[in-house]
């Protein structure tokens, strides 16, 4: 530890937290306490803006807010110290802004902790989820054995203490004397949840400082350690000289994120688009009939978007391949029907997600949609409400946009772009009549779906819009 060496033992660092899998940095929006003020663990302490939401961060411990390092408006990589709490009576600290929480030590010792030659001789199981008894875990921690490399002989392949002892014995045999791996001095205790998170992220528990009872490592400790290991990207800079007549404005987190994601989506996902015009007379009649009744019964105001969410969910149920995502050299498949709705907010484009739409009735979809869009406008969405989407609907029907193609919302493989609904000439039985229609454009990732698969999905969806009674099965 370099700059952090002045920190007394009872000092608690407030670090830029990682609040989602994709989060890399965050911006301090406001401190909710001032320096010298007493805070309780769990009390809202600082407001952080990520690329997806503004979130209130709770104080990690009781104490006094001793120092604010990260000033409002400043952006920091996750894991960076943005402030300090001290227990009453402790001395404050002086630290330069943006000091990362001791990453160097973590990396170095992590390498040392892994057994080298023995690893290749031990039968490997899939990394990630290792089933092991608490006793096996304790011994593995004490001996510095990677549990993922130990073959379990317990029920269902559970790694038991004896297996770890055998692995240790094997290591001793295979390593020359004197080069034996040195286990950490004290046994590392960790909660099962912390162990699981550590395994998922490949964190070596011996390197994590426990804050639980008796020094037990909790999930928070592991997450803090994950934050500390992330590389620090170079800060973004404004152009040195501006063209005449231009001013420069740094992008907000949401704008920056949109730029990055859309660029990578358009670059990496081979898009194609399928177009259709749907007759909306039945859909509108249905909405007219339901609107006052559902309003009276459930207090919700259903919109065309809500009906589209329901219809998409029903169609996705029949075409689950549309939910798949391209990943590396294969497909991530799912049956989770979580539909995101592109929403315009003062901070930019956000896509709140309604989860498990296939299990929700129309009124519940309307209720959740209303709540999520409102939260999005206020910047109060939680990260959970922004992640996990498997399909997106983008509706620009309220503008004079007849028709548009949208860029896919990565990593999803399909997106429905909805243009405005208006009276258009429709040929019916040889007669030209005026009818309300809407235009639909399905964006598709050709790595995941071919033209026919996309066409089948869109055909079924249009059929449902034109004959909503099909929803009854």
């Amino acid at each position: 530890m370099s700059a952090g060496s002045q920190i007394s033992l009872r000092e608690t660092e407030i670090v830029m937290p990682r609040m989602g899998l994709t989060m890399e940095e965050g911006t301090v929006i406001a401190w909710l306490k001032s320096v010298g003020e007493m805070v309780q663990a769990g009390e809202p302490l600082v407001e952080i803006e990520t690329d997806k939401a503004t979130v209130e961060i709770e104080a990690p411990a009781n104490g006094i807010l001793r120092q604010i390092v990260g000033q409002p408006g400043e952006t920091f990589p996750i894991g960076t110290v943005i402030g300090y709490l001290t227990a009453p009576g402790e001395k404050g600290v002086a630290l330069a802004a943006g000091t990362a929480a001791a990453p160097a030590k973590l990396e170095k010792t992590q390498v040392e902790a892994r057994p080298t030659s023995a690893a290749s001789q031990m039968p490997a199981t899939l990394p990630g989820k290792v089933r092991a008894s608490p006793a096996a875990r304790r011994i593995a921690r004490q001996q510095g054995v990677e549990l993922g490399l130990v073959q379990g002989s317990g029920p269902g392949g559970r790694v038991v203490a004896w297996n770890v002892e055998q692995a240790v014995a094997q290591m001793r045999v295979s390593q020359p004397a004197g080069a034996q791996h040195v286990a950490s001095e004290s046994a590392t205790k960790a909660s099962p949840l912390a162990q699981r998170v550590a395994e998922e992220y490949g964190v070596v528990l011996q390197q994590v400082q426990g804050s639980g009872p008796g020094g037990r490592i909790t999930r928070k400790d592991v997450e803090r350690s994950i934050s500390g290991q992330v590389e620090v990207p170079a800060p973004s800079q404004s152009p040195a000289s501006l063209p005449p007549g231009f001013t420069y404005e740094p992008a907000s987190r949401v704008q920056k994120r949109m730029a990055e994601r859309m660029a990578s989506s358009f670059r990496d996902a081979p898009h194609f688009y399928l177009h259709s015009e749907a007759d909306c007379r039945s859909l509108l009649a249905l909405r007219q009939a339901l609107l006052p009744r559902l309003e009276e019964r459930y207090g919700v105001h259903i919109t065309v978007t809500d009906l589209l969410v329901k219809f998409c969910a029903l169609t996705l149920e029949r075409h689950p391949q549309v939910l798949s995502q391209w990943s590396g050299d294969g497909l991530l498949k799912t049956s989770e029907i979580n539909i995101g709705i592109a929403a315009d907010t003062p901070n930019g484009l956000l896509v709140p997600v309604i989860q498990h739409c296939d299990r929700l009735g129309l009124s519940e979809i309307a209720r959740q949609r209303t709540e999520l869009v409102e939260k999005a406008r206020l910047g109060k969405l939680s990260l959970q409400e922004l992640e996990l989407g498997t399909f997106t609907i983008s509706n620009l029907g309220m503008f004079k946009v007849d028709f548009f193609d949208a860029i896919l919302n990565p990593p999803q493989a399909a997106l429905l772009a909805v243009g405005r609904m208006k009276e258009r000439p429709v040929a019916e039985n040889g007669q030209l009549i005026a009818a309300q229609t809407m235009t639909l454009s399905l964006s598709v990732d050709h790595r995941v779906l071919d033209g026919v698969s996309g066409a089948r999905f869109l055909s079924d969806l249009v059929e449902l819009i034109e004959t909503p009674g099909l929803a009854l099965g």
Binding site: P134, A135, A136, R138, G154, P155, V160, A161, W162
Partner: protein, 332 residues
């Protein structure tokens, strides 16, 4: 120190006799405890020795004689009411739970309730669904009551003598199958066994077996058979549920890495659950397998012996549970 062999019932009788001779506040009361000496012979000769004022035959009314006992305890006696069939302790829940257990607390210690309720437990005698149950866990759930569950004549005598010197209410459970069938060494010299001290009935290193009351016996038999397979089981008798000797249980499991808990009470929400939780908390980082619990199946105890035996843990079930705990944990 000279030692004889006594039956479980004889050990109980001897503890009552010795303490009644020592302390004239002790009175015994219940159904047929007097002139006839008790249906299980645990009060034999006491009526003749101490007279009808201290050994009282009561009508068939648990509510009556236990309520009377609580009042007598509050006014200076140490009554020992006997619930002949522990099943009917249901009739005196209010007297025990709301009155006896609370008086000391609610009067700021001004009133003590030195009361030792003796009750039977256990099936295995084809006594039917209303005469075979084991309700000790209920009382272990109530603050203010001490719960004793001895398994040997030695423990029964030493613990009962302690109960009879306690200033607080004690529920003393005796497994009726053991009265005549279980014999064991009991020294002639006087001794008491303090509450809250578990007893390691057999030392071992491979797995911890914790058994309550009579279940100690099939558990020890199972341990003997397991030894022939090379499995060294440690067998622990908690002896009192309240207070509970947690350190002994936890230390044993820290050593062995696995536990099987055996009880004749119902498994569902039973004493085994509390003991398993104690171990899971105290020996968390040492467990190598889930804690196994064996209790009575969650059905009324059947009358027919074949079905009755199937509902109660036995040697075979205990051995199977040990094998589950040890599965994959040793080199074959």
């Amino acid at each position: 120190m000279s030692t004889r062999e006594l039956t479980f019932a004889q050990a109980i009788r001897e503890a009552l006799d010795e303490e009644m001779a020592r302390d004239e506040r002790i009175i015994v009361l219940g159904e047929d405890v007097g002139a006839w000496g008790g249906v299980f012979r645990t009060t034999e000769g006491l009526f003749q020795k101490y007279g009808p004022e201290r050994v009282i035959d009561t009508p068939l009314s648990e509510e009556g004689f236990v309520g009377l006992s609580v009042g007598a305890a509050m006014t200076g006696f140490h009554p020992v009411p006997e619930i002949m069939f522990g099943d009917f302790i249901t009739l005196v829940m209010d007297q025990l739970v709301n009155q006896a257990a609370k008086m000391r607390y609610m009067t700021g210690g001004q009133i003590q309730v030195p009361l030792t309720v003796r009750a039977t437990m256990g099936g295995g005698r084809s006594s039917g669904a209303q005469h075979s149950q084991s309700w000790h866990a209920w009382f272990a759930h109530v603050p203010g009551l001490k719960v004793v569950v001895p398994s040997t004549p030695y423990d029964a005598k030493g613990l009962l003598k302690t109960a009879l010197r306690e200033p607080n209410p004690v529920i003393f459970f005796e497994d009726k199958v053991m009265y005549a069938k279980v014999k064991g060494p009991v020294p002639e010299e006087e001794y008491c066994i303090p509450f809250g001290q578990a007893d390691i009935k057999r030392a071992g290193k491979d797995v911890t077996l914790i058994a309550i009351s009579r279940m100690i016996h099939p558990t020890l038999a199972a341990a003997e058979k397991l030894a022939a397979e090379g499995i060294e089981a440690e067998v622990i008798d908690p002896r009192t549920l309240t207070p509970l000797d947690k350190p002994t249980l936890i230390e044993s499991v820290k050593k062995t890495g696995g536990a099987v808990i055996v009880d004749e009470g119902y498994q569902h929400f039973g004493a085994t659950a509390e003991l398993a939780a104690t171990i899971a908390y105290g020996a968390f980082d040492y467990l190598d397998a889930p804690v196994e619990r064996l209790g009575a199946l969650d059905v009324p105890i059947p009358f027919t012996p074949v079905l009755e035996n199937a509902t109660i843990p036995d040697e075979t079930k205990i051995i199977a549970a040990v094998h589950r705990v040890l599965e994959g944990r040793r080199s074959a």
